[in-house]
């Protein structure tokens, strides 16, 4: 019963490098979300997806891209990492046919030097 799995758990990048964060869920949820959480702050929505092949912008989408090629996976990409993107990134999923709560992964701690 894995739920939501995020890969990797930790990563250090240099400014300008690119990387992709992977989120996988095994609950057959239609909705998936990417959030960032800065120290002492709440979660801010970056992008989300309401189904395979669809994505939409959240509150803070700039500097990030996403893809949802398979229902169970939601990828978050940083094309050219900046120090301002140092944060903890959380992925979540939820069903679309009822107002069930979001299920979260354990986060990816990303540092940009």
């Amino acid at each position: 019963n894995a739920g939501v799995t995020q890969t990797p758990k930790f990563r250090v990048l240099k400014t300008g490098q690119s990387m992709t964060l992977l989120c996988a869920q095994d609950m057959n949820h239609e909705y998936m979300y990417w959030y960032r959480q800065d120290p002492g702050m709440g979660l801010r929505l970056i992008h989300y997806s309401v189904g395979e092949g669809t994505t939409a912008k959240g509150e803070v989408p700039d500097g990030y891209n996403v893809s949802r090629l398979k229902k169970q996976n939601f990828l978050l990409g940083l094309e050219s990492a900046a120090p301002s993107q140092t944060s903890v990134y959380f992925c979540a999923s939820s069903p679309a046919d009822s107002n069930q709560p979001q299920h979260f992964g354990d986060g990816t701690r990303l540092s940009i030097l």
Binding site: Y31, R44, A56, F90, S94, D97, N99, P101, F104, G107
Partner: protein, 113 residues
């Protein structure tokens, strides 16, 4: 946008009942109220959800007045392990964009022996 307002922090002692109130003056007719708990270095975890009146589960109760412009999370007989950040969310992904369901900064609850 169903913005919520919560106290930034609260302190209590083991064995006490703790009530955290959330204000959501512009809640929409279809919106549900959902509370999450977050421990350090973990993703948020669902606690309780309600639409009106009172909801109770094994860990908490949720009180919602008739006008639904606020809600109160009640934690009975707290222990040190209840020290966490608590978030109140308002919305329903079936009827509004996920980008309008905002986590906010939450309430940092500290429990002392």
């Amino acid at each position: 946008l169903a913005k919520t307002t919560q106290p930034i922090s609260m302190d209590s002692y083991e064995g006490q009942e703790v009530n955290i109130t959330c204000s959501h003056n512009n809640i929409a007719t279809n919106d549900y109220i959902t509370w999450y708990q977050q421990f350090p270095s973990q993703g948020p975890r669902f606690i309780i959800q309600g639409y009106k009146t009172k909801v109770t589960n094994e860990v908490a109760s949720l009180f919602i007045p008739a006008d639904r412009k606020s809600s109160t999370l009640s934690l009975p007989r707290v222990s040190l392990s209840d020290t966490a950040v608590y978030y109140c969310l308002v919305g329903d992904v079936r009827y509004s964009s996920a980008s309008k369901i905002i986590f906010g900064s939450g309430t940092r609850l500290s429990i002392r022996p």
